[in-house]
Subunit: 207 residues, 2 copies
Amino acid sequence: MNKGKVILISGPSGVGKGTVVKEIIKDENYALSVSVTTRLPREGEIDGVNYFFTTKEDFLHRVENNLMLEHAVYNNQFYGTPKDYVEQTVAQGKNIILEIEVQGVEQVKKLMPEAVSIFIMPDKAGVIEHRLRKRNTEDEQTIQNRLHIAIGEMKQAHKYDYIVINGELEKCICDIKSVINAERYKKENMLDFVKGVLENDEKTLCQ
Amino acid sequence: MNKGKVILISGPSGVGKGTVVKEIIKDENYALSVSVTTRLPREGEIDGVNYFFTTKEDFLHRVENNLMLEHAVYNNQFYGTPKDYVEQTVAQGKNIILEIEVQGVEQVKKLMPEAVSIFIMPDKAGVIEHRLRKRNTEDEQTIQNRLHIAIGEMKQAHKYDYIVINGELEKCICDIKSVINAERYKKENMLDFVKGVLENDEKTLCQ
């Protein structure tokens, strides 16, 4: 069985990243990574499904022992990706998706250079702003701030292996799956296969 | 319109490369390159369709003036890929396939590093030999010679960008199209798009 791929997905808020990921993991060959967090579970959240809930002490212990692929702090709480969970999932032949920020991508890439990073872009200018305004719940300054952050995120797109466009949802999903499929056939991932065929074919030749 | 991709396809004889290519070019987004040759047309061959037929003098003139992406000699005749034909085809948004040997791939890659090279492998050892024997028209020595050549070709697989497997024809075609689709979304091919979105979104921000 082929090992699955580790897929790092980012994109500006408002690009529809969550929907894209939700659709992709409907395919049984794909799974979403479960993060470890120190924040308390909200109502309905299940340990091991939504998050692995843990203490700050345990979290820091994991970080110190290189058991986290990446981690970050939001609102005074830790969030991170457990290395063992990711490794077990890919060992089962599944592709695992990590929905993370650019700093997290850089951390994972250091430990797992073979991970594939994908940045999702809107299909044209104005889309992010339009979605922010459509919510109609925020004042102009908040909208401007959020747009500023989204632009900052898009300025990091060049740090990713691939940049896909979320214009039409189905096409975006298909393109991401294309990228993952193609990665499997990169020369460096196929050399063991070639070696196996050659060794056996050369035996025939010697007879 | 996006420019098409130049696709270099090789594989050992007997791997079914011709059938794969024939199926792919049924898709209107793909075309097969037409080679220039100095050999005489065979019955039914049409100039500009099967080959561009020309003189040795003209052929060498083209080579000297860098009008050929690659060229080689077989049976005392020249064969080569005309640069202008390939460039015009990709400018029309079509992917163009060059079915060439490893030496040709190396020549094209020097002039067009963005060309995508794909090596087609059989799905297991023994396939090439089986196909050679099935023909039932050749003596043992000829079979051994051909197998020897095929093994030599497979030993060049590591020089290609991608290695795909032709086990099931439909899957092989789908995998090659996946590779080409994914290539379009490589970071370096998307930066102009990102720049365009950013420039316009930043204008909104300043208002």
